[in-house]
Symmetry: C2
Subunit: 416 residues, 2 copies
């Protein structure tokens, strides 16, 4: 669905674009946060700082949960001034439900980072992920910020992606280069996801940086559309977290003529950011807690894009579809059922459902496909489920993962 031609894929994630650096530290946040000691990676990096050489145009999309981490509230505040130059992220502690102390600690994280980088505190965004309801171990965080700032490096993107992981099993980065008005421009990002991933950005942290020059406010004008086509379509379980954050930052280091909304260059840049966001979203779904398979759901023929998104998410998020995929079970009835309760308009007679290209439902009833072929398709590492609602032009994708015994095990053991 995204235009992917004309892109050159790069490594480097959040520091792939020019004028971006990252540094990390292992400051023991997990060991010092009651309950987080059970997280994997004892002794590994758990704090990242990402910094731009110059002031950025920036915007964020945040959790819709009414309970918001102090990090989210501080970011919303700091973004109003649109003078951001850096972000600092901790993993192992969510700094959510931590009362007034939590807000003081989040502000202090921004201030400590600003002091090290000679910025104003309002130029620093903060992020956090991990156990809810435990105070941040601020002495450790302070040491970590000093170490990470001292180690800022244009090659630091991959280490940063690793430092923000909680139950993730692999770091998630993607980056690409395109040309705008003849000037090479780069877009790169990192994300962490795994459990609690749901449409409205559950404990998902995603940071996309670019060196494109844009007119002020461009990031804010596109971030909702980009989220709707990427991170909001990822579902691992039904829970929305207190901390979900997607930030987009453009520092202008590429030197292209500033991109203005409504121009072909703006469209191309937006598509490139969507491409990076989608790759990160798919990586999150693929790495869902206990996941063994990526489920891609493509809905077409919906009355509009919003309904297509609803329908695709319902299928990707159905516990029963997820368990069926885990079992290699071509139970198309559960797919049709999920479309039915998705909230999208649905007329059974017009619906067609295919799994791995094999039509399993059409004309209001099952199509008795080659069940063995469908079953083999369900056993692949990526399963594509396609549903054409036959009612319009709306299209969307969503990504999820299978529901495994291991998911239950992880979430029964992740202890308070």
């Amino acid at each position: 669905m995204a235009v992917s031609t004309g892109y050159r894929t790069l490594s480097g994630g959040v520091t792939a674009a020019r004028g971006w650096q990252a540094g990390v530290a292992a400051c023991g946040i997990k060991a010092l946060t009651a309950g987080a000691a059970a997280l994997p990676g004892e002794g590994r990096q758990d704090l990242a700082v990402v910094a731009s050489d110059t002031v950025c145009d920036a915007a964020g999309a945040f959790t819709t949960n009414r309970v918001k981490s102090a990090s989210v509230v501080i970011d919303q505040l700091h973004l109003r001034q649109n003078r951001v130059r850096a972000l600092v992220v901790v993993s192992g502690n969510a700094n959510a439900c931590t009362g007034a102390q939590g807000f003081r600690d989040a502000l202090q994280m921004a201030k400590l980072t600003a002091d090290r980088l000679d910025l104003e505190p309002s130029q620093v965004l903060v992020g956090s992920t991990g156990v809810i309801g435990r105070p941040l171990p601020m002495e450790a965080v302070k040491r970590g910020i000093a170490i990470a700032c001292a180690g800022l490096d244009p090659e630091g993107g991959r280490a940063a992606a690793r430092a923000i992981m909680t139950t993730d099993t692999v770091p998630k980065t993607h980056a690409l280069e395109l040309e705008l008005d003849g000037v090479p421009v780069r877009v790169g990002g990192m994300a962490k996801g795994s459990g609690m991933i749901h449409p409205q950005l559950a404990t998902m942290l995603a940071y996309i940086t670019t060196d494109a020059a844009v007119t002020p406010g461009w990031c804010a004008s596109v971030i909702r559309r980009i989220a709707d086509r990427s991170f909001n379509q990822v579902t691992v379980d039904g829970d929305s977290s207190t901390n979900d954050t997607f930030l987009l930052l453009a520092n202008g280091a590429a030197g292209n003529p500033p991109v203005e909304p409504g121009t072909p260059a703006a469209e191309r840049l937006e598509e490139a950011v969507v491409q990076v966001a989608r790759e990160l979203a798919r990586a999150i779904a693929r790495d869902g807690e206990g996941a063994t398979r990526l489920i891609t759901v493509r809905v077409t023929g919906a009355p509009d894009a919003a309904q297509a998104r609803l329908a695709a998410r319902a299928v990707a998020g159905s516990n029963l579809v997820k368990a069926a995929v885990h079992g290699g079970d071509p139970n198309w009835g559960r797919i049709v059922c999920a479309l039915g309760y998705s909230g999208a308009e649905l007329t059974l007679d017009r619906l067609t459902v295919a799994v791995a290209g094999l039509t399993v439902f059409a004309l209001g009833t099952g199509q008795d496909p080659d069940l063995e072929a469908v079953r083999r398709a369900f056993e692949q590492p990526e399963i594509v489920i396609e549903a054409d609602l036959g009612s319009g032009e709306g299209a969307a994708e969503a990504w999820g993962c299978d529901l495994s015994e291991e998911y239950v095990h992880i979430n029964a053991e992740y202890t308070t």
Copy 2:
């Protein structure tokens, strides 16, 4: 919350009330339905007929899924005439997504039952639960209806509750007696639930019968309120089925003065039906697929009852809360998080959360309770989670079960 005093508990379920009989048959629907052979109880009863000696006042609440079983559509049609005298239910085959043939088969089920009982087809309601998208084995169903009708018995309630089970491990019945205007009146019911249980009546079949005399239309006037306080508050997984049905039938055999809406007798009868419905709802939650524990969530202090219901359901339905309960893990952060995305108004400073009577969250932050005591509470067969939102008078309960490795195993193996 329900007034439970003044009730005498009875056995007998759906035939506890006077003038009601039930019969069952083992006609091999599971063996003859591709995919249902994996259901437990090979060779056991899989068809039930319930019949009243006289015409009933009746009403139904049905799935909100846009994909509806033929059974649901036929019931909605037949209820319009409000002359119901019997119902026939099959287990092992959902008769959903079966096209025009499915409607013919559902009508034929009503007609075959009506012929045996000397009724009009429109006086018979039909129910079905099981695999989606497979045609009903009508020869077997026909034989089963003959057997069940021949075996109608005022003591048949428990056998009927067993015959409608799919992955349920125990039959679910409840019945009680109360006095209305000095006349003893009985209310009894049966239900099947287990997997796919969600707020809007996922694959849940629930049938409540009474011998109370009521004015025509009374059942229709109360059924939504009763469902909202019972079956709609059960959640086992996030899926709403194509077949969910809750029927309420009153045959008047008790001989009490007909109950009119708005009178004290109407209130007392409604509370009695709620009591039966709640006991059935709790039994469904307790018997969720793979469940080892019942989770009862009590929300108070919501702005209104609707928001209280939303909040209670979100907590009872959270995969993360369910997995935490399974692991005996007092992770109150997940409870607060679920309240946050429930859609109910929430002000953290006013929120209090208790688990088994121990306050774990108050004044905007965690309360460091005796974690060992909380952990012991999570290990009981029933866990009570209480949340006071501190914003009004709205109260509600919801019931769920823990999420176990066994849930995944069952739903990965329940094959097409």
